[in-house]
């Protein structure tokens, strides 16, 4: 698909993490695949960057490509200024961002991610060094442009309580519709670790076909390149 070194490891980690923790990573990937496999690999572009805030344009790309840059920028700003807030517009597959939050948390950063899907606001929070985040879905009353712009908001800082205050000052969430606790995620992970991950045969074939793009045709001469 044209992902470069670093990107494809991050993307694979995002998909596998989502699947292992009960957030349907493979299903999300299956939906995204037609788009991913036929579009250029575009990363996020920096639109503006003030002290504690930055705005990125996702260029209608996937979080599988833009997610790492976004979270890393938020963490870098947070390290410099105490907290950081990055908004990524025009990006897809935002649910995949969760693994990047978990990864960043391992370096001692607290994070909150927020995005709106239809009329539902999704909020994900993680404490520094935590292995699992808390996932919540709420009724959403935010400004219409957030939905229209396919936006993703990342807040990063040294502690979650301070980030919650910043978050509350910007977003007014409605009733909680669904919650996926850290414990539920841990249980899901353990179950899938024990049982393995089932992959639909047709989807597996699609992935196989994508893999074939990086394989080189075999010839008598190339066979010699492995030991004859």
């Amino acid at each position: 698909m044209g992902f470069s070194v670093g990107d494809y490891e991050d993307a694979a980690a995002m998909v596998v993490w989502s699947q292992m923790h009960g957030l349907s990573g493979l299903q999300q990937l299956q939906r995204a695949l037609p788009f991913l496999s036929n579009c250029p690999c575009l990363h996020a572009k920096l639109i503006n960057d003030t002290d504690q805030q930055a705005l990125l344009d996702g260029q209608q790309s996937s979080v599988l490509l833009c997610g790492s840059q976004t979270v890393r920028l938020a963490c870098a700003i947070a390290r410099q200024h105490g907290s950081g807030h990055v908004r990524l517009d025009s990006c897809h597959n935002r649910k995949f961002i969760i693994q990047r939050l978990v990864s960043a948390a391992q370096l001692g950063t607290a994070l909150i991610a927020y995005w709106v899907n239809g009329s539902t606001g999704v909020k994900v929070m993680i404490e520094p060094y935590a292995k699992q985040p808390e996932y919540q879905e709420h009724q959403e009353y935010s400004a219409a442009d957030i939905t229209a712009n396919q936006s993703l908001f990342i807040f990063a800082g040294s502690d979650l309580a301070s980030l919650e205050q910043q978050f509350s000052s910007q977003f007014n969430l409605g009733a909680q519709l669904r919650r996926f606790s850290t414990e539920a995620m841990r249980n899901s992970y353990q179950y899938r670790l024990e049982q393995g991950i089932e992959i639909d045969q047709q989807f597996w074939s699609e992935l196989d076909n994508l893999v074939a793009r990086v394989l080189v045709e075999s010839t008598d001469s190339s066979r010699a390149g492995a030991g004859d």
Partner: protein, 589 residues
């Protein structure tokens, strides 16, 4: 060699509490890595110690073979923390179809290591999938999938001899060293198998790197010996004898290793760092143990070990000229060492000669492979200082990018830790004369020649030195415009370097891990990569078949299952021909 050759290392060793670890600039040179030999920390050695000391109970619950030896065998394994099943299928294979390469699709034997006991339904499922290997699918109850091919040179000979009531000639066995050779052992989540995380957290018996894979090969050795006995008895029930136990111990399992191992070493730098760091720690501890002088007992053990290695090297049969020359050189230098130890023992003790001096002498005067043999021998002398390190061979492999690092700091980091990469001139054609790729033929890793072979645009990213160089150049250019900027902003501009920076920052926190060689040079010797990994597995008798693949022997000289639980001297390093007793245990089969 003279005891008058003394280094200044002794005084610094005895004065310093810090272990004298060798620098990465020395250890991580490809030709040195390719000179490593097995040690007490090698995975076969640690597995065998564990099995013998914990007295694992291994019994066949199914041995359903026809008179030719084809069929199914299942072994139940009761280890300290759990029960496992080793399931093996023996198939007829036309000798013309016998191929050790990844591209093969038929084998004499195929096998799987499974958790728990295997019922009839699971056995049927395995029978439908295990013989297909990569083309089949298993489930998370399976840890390892493997296969083996019969040795054309020994198997029929051994069976014939046994059937005629004779033990096989040890000299003939020494030529090969095994009845079967394995050509792959897959694990860690491949083909539907249990993820390493599951194995590590649930099955403590196999919670060390490659422990389950090594066990699978050990069980193949066990089966191969039973198999020869069984077929001989079927063929000639009245005359057949069983293999003598001493001869059995001298049989290992053959192994063919090709380029498949090379990407692993590059793609798991933190794991490689961990392995090498433990080995270097073991060596440093051994050297420190002799810092204040040596005694008669330890010198005698060391001289005996040297004699053993000399005999071992003399018994290796390889058609590779370079390996033969190397084995000869190492033998000569070890003979010099042994003679000196025997002749000068009293003076060595009286002068408080140290291992540090010996190591330094070897580095100055002897072949690199001799140096590494001596290092393995030194590690062998001090099990009480070394063996605990076997618990440290696993590591979390997460790599993390530090986005707030200033580009100035990152640039300095590259100049400090990757000076070897910056020293390579990639503008020279030979510096990019090779490329690594995967073939569409079973995804076999191959090495291509630039401008000769096709597929360069699909090459695997194994040229770490070149990747670092490109990243460094981009950073320099970016910094000319934005000198105060950080990594996060740089990768917004240059996202394709995020992987390189992640690796650089991660590996800068460890000492070993990155192999200091241009792996796309036209003269690169991949065989050194294979030998390095194989030394950590614990193989012996390297028999290079080209610069791209090597045959070797696993578990030769190791105890048999019938030895488990008995007094055990962990001394099967550098196996040598057995001296058979006149009362050999060769009852009628």
């Amino acid at each position: 060699m003279h005891s008058s050759y003394r280094s200044t290392a002794k005084s610094s060793l005895s004065q310093s509490a810090v272990l004298p670890m060798r620098p990465a600039s020395q250890v991580m040179q490809l030709n040195r890595l390719g000179s490593f030999h097995q040690s007490r920390l090698s995975f076969m050695r640690t597995l065998v110690r564990r099995m013998v000391q914990e007295n694992w109970q291994i019994n066949s619950t199914v041995f359903d073979l026809d008179t030719e030896g084809y069929g199914t065998a299942v072994y139940e394994v009761k280890a300290k923390y759990g029960t496992y099943s080793y399931v093996l299928f023996s198939h007829y294979l036309d000798p013309e179809n016998r191929n050790d390469r990844v591209i093969a699709d038929q084998w004499d034997l195929t096998m799987a290591l499974c958790e728990g006991s295997v019922d009839a339904e699971q056995l049927e499922f395995l029978r439908n999938n295990v013989p297909k290997q990569e083309a089949g699918r298993v489930d998370s109850r399976v840890f390892v999938l493997s296969r083996g091919n019969r040795s054309g040179r020994t198997f029929d000979y051994v069976v014939d001899e046994l059937a005629q009531g004779r033990q096989p000639d040890v000299d003939v066995i020494a030529e090969v060293g095994y009845l079967y050779r394995t050509t792959a052992a897959y694990g860690s989540g491949k083909l539907g198998m249990a993820d390493w995380e599951k194995v590590r957290t649930k099955h403590r018996d196999f919670a060390r790197p490659f422990a389950a894979e090594m066990f699978t090969c050990f069980m193949l050795r066990h089966f191969s010996l039973q198999h020869a006995d069984y077929i001989a008895a079927q063929r000639a029930p009245k005359t057949a004898v069983k293999l003598d136990d001493d001869i059995k111990r001298y049989f290992g399992i053959g192994n063919s290793t090709g380029l498949g191992m090379a990407p692993f070493l590059i793609n798991h730098p933190l794991l490689i760092n961990q392995w090498i760091e433990q080995r270097e720690t073991a060596l440093a501890r051994a050297i420190m143990a002799g810092a204040d002088g040596l005694d008669t007992a330890i010198l005698d053990r060391f001289a005996t070990a040297a004699a053993r290695v000399i005999q071992h090297l003399g018994e290796i049969s390889t058609g590779d000229t370079q390996q033969n020359v190397s084995n000869g050189l190492v033998s000569e230098e070890l003979q010099e060492l042994e003679q000196w130890l025997r002749a000068e023992g009293i003076n060595i003790i009286a002068s408080r000669y140290s291992w540090a001096e010996l190591v330094q002498y070897a580095e100055c005067n002897w072949h690199i492979e001799t140096q590494e043999v001596i290092n393995s021998m030194l590690i062998e002398l001090y099990p009480e200082l070394v063996d605990e390190l076997e618990e440290m061979m696993a590591v979390e492999e997460d790599q993390h990018l530090v986005p707030q690092m200033s580009l100035g700091d990152l640039k300095a980091l590259i100049e400090d830790k990757y000076d070897w990469a910056l020293a390579i001139d990639f503008s020279r054609a030979e510096s990019q004369g090779s490329f690594w790729y995967r073939s569409e033929e079973k995804m076999e890793p191959r090495l291509g020649q630039t401008c000769v072979d096709m597929g360069m645009e699909k090459q695997m990213p194994l040229a770490i030195g070149r990747m670092v160089r490109e990243c460094y150049d981009e950073i320099c250019m970016y910094m000319a415009e934005f000198p105060q900027q950080d990594v996060a902003h740089f990768i917004l501009q240059q996202p394709n370097f995020s992987g390189a920076i992640c690796r650089i920052q991660t590996m800068a926190r460890s000492q070993y891990g990155d192999i200091r060689e241009n792996l796309v040079h036209s003269d690169v010797l991949p065989i050194h990569l294979l030998r390095c990994k194989l030394s950590f597995f614990g193989v012996s008798k390297f028999d290079p078949r080209s610069r791209l693949w090597v045959r070797n022997t696993m578990f030769q000289g190791a105890p048999l299952i019938s030895d488990f639980g008995k007094p055990f001297f962990d001394d099967w390093q550098f196996p040598i021909k057995p001296v058979l007793s006149s009362t050999s245990d060769s009852s009628v089969g």
